[in-house]
């Protein structure tokens, strides 16, 4: 039987890697899965690959393939079953090894809350949490002020949002989406229903929403305790894309702008039309905001985008200077560049969109399968 000390959770593992404690990851998935998606920490992590079926075939030969190392040996597979077997084989041959509980599925679902440091004038008026889904590079948010909480872009595992609201003694009164997501199934409708909160998502003209939502107008102001959230319509990544400007300073930007790219406009099959909308959003609406506006996106592509304070964010002024998407010479050039960058989205994205529109109700195992791997929502994943 498994001893609890033979297991390590994703939270414990990431904390060790982030603190630069020596760890060797032994990934025992097949080559295909290992090539597609791996565990990343904020510090580089040593990793090696010996598939579990090599251990089934010949324990001694496979054990000999695991290189000598400093620190702890952590075995990883897709769901935590094969890695538990391999860890046991290794321990049996005198090599202390721990199993990553729940494997890559747990890694992909783990949510890490980060308390965003606020400007002096905002401190004490509200709290802003960035919830980092490390395995997928997805970010969601909780804003708390005077006993009220708004949750933006929640993942399917909603308990973390409930824990944060409870910890800050707040009632979840609003659930807001920045857009209809394609890379992960939203926990929004369920979270809103359970807490009697209003639910806002704008499907735009190209999608038909099959669930109940209260639309928010461009420029509308939401009062949440002592803080105001301004609604900004920012079509482009999707025609219904919306940003939320918190206290005039923090732009929850969804997939409109990231810290190293902008949102790809081709996920609905109308790349040129949506790219035109995105150009106008970037060149008009996001031009008009002050340069010191702090952009807090819904995704990131690599751990290098996580700042020293643990937050993924950037100054809007810096992004306008740095990202080529803000410096297109004309609307047509921008649209042409976006259309050229179109690449096939993961197969599951169409099913996830249907689910988030309320048009499909798949079982949990299906959704878990669809959400495997990192998000692919940026126009140019790497600059």
């Amino acid at each position: 039987m498994t001893n609890p000390s033979d297991e390590i959770t994703v939270e414990q593992l990431l904390a060790r890697i982030d603190r630069q404690e020596p760890v060797l990851l032994l990934d025992v998935r097949n080559e295909e899965e290992y090539g597609q998606w791996k565990i990343e920490g904020r510090q580089p992590v040593a990793s090696t690959h010996v598939p579990y079926f090599d251990f089934v075939e010949d324990e001694i030969a496979a054990t000999a393939k695991v290189p000598p190392h400093d620190g702890e040996l952590i075995v990883v597979c897709a769901k935590g079953g094969s890695s538990a077997m391999v860890a046991e084989i290794l321990r049996g041959s005198g090599r202390p090894a721990k199993n990553l509980d729940g494997g890559m599925i747990a890694y992909g679902e783990y949510l890490q809350p980060v308390d965003v440091p606020l400007d002096g004038a905002d401190t004490g008026r509200f709290r802003l949490w960035q919830i980092n889904r490390r395995g997928k590079g997805c970010l969601s948010y909780v804003i708390v002020s005077a006993g009220e909480a708004a949750v933006i872009d929640p993942s399917r595992n909603i308990s973390v949002y409930e824990r944060i609201a409870a910890g800050d003694k707040a009632r979840i009164s609003r659930v807001l989406e920045t857009h209809v997501h394609a890379d992960h199934v939203s926990g929004g409708p369920q979270l809103a229903a359970l807490h009697g909160a209003t639910y806002a998502v704008d499907p735009g003209a190209d999608f038909e929403l099959k669930l109940r939502a209260d639309p928010l107008g461009d420029g509308e102001r939401i009062d949440l305790g002592h803080v105001t959230i301004e609604v900004l319509h920012t079509p482009g990544h999707t025609p219904g894309s919306t940003c939320y400007l918190v206290s005039g300073r923090y732009l929850i930007s969804g997939d409109t702008v990231f810290t190293n790219s902008v949102g790809r406009p081709d996920l609905g099959g109308h790349a040129a039309d949506w790219a035109r909308l995105l150009y106008r959003t970037l060149s008009e609406k996001l031009r008009s905001l002050p340069p010191e506006t702090r952009v807090l996106p819904a995704h990131y592509a690599g751990v290098s985008e996580i700042g020293p304070d643990g937050v993924v964010s950037a100054r809007l002024g810096d992004l306008r200077a740095r990202l080529p998407e803000f410096r297109a010479s004309s609307e047509q050039d921008f649209v042409d560049a976006m259309v050229r960058s179109v690449r096939t989205p993961p197969e599951s994205y169409a099913s996830i969109i249907r689910t988030n529109l309320g048009a499909a109700h798949p079982e949990a195992a299906r959704m878990t399968e669809w959400e495997l791997g990192k998000n692919e929502c940026a126009a140019h994943p790497q600059h």
Binding site: N30, E31, P51, Y52, E57
Partner: protein, 78 residues
Amino acid sequence: MRKLDVRGAKCPMPIVKAKKEIDQMKPGEQLEVVSTDPGSLPDFRGWAQTAKTAILKEQRTESDPGGQEIYIHILERK
């Protein structure tokens, strides 16, 4: 042909059981493994590359009468 039903079993069990079965068979004998785990397709291919006693002859995906996808692997004892 021998049959091994590992429907519902999660990895590593399909390959652990297939190896056990294969090792008891005579050279040239075949084994049909039926799995419900889509990951069994690349895993059986990977295992067969180094397996000392098994050759992977064929893999196919079918739907069972309930509409569930099943993955069939035909192995031969070396």
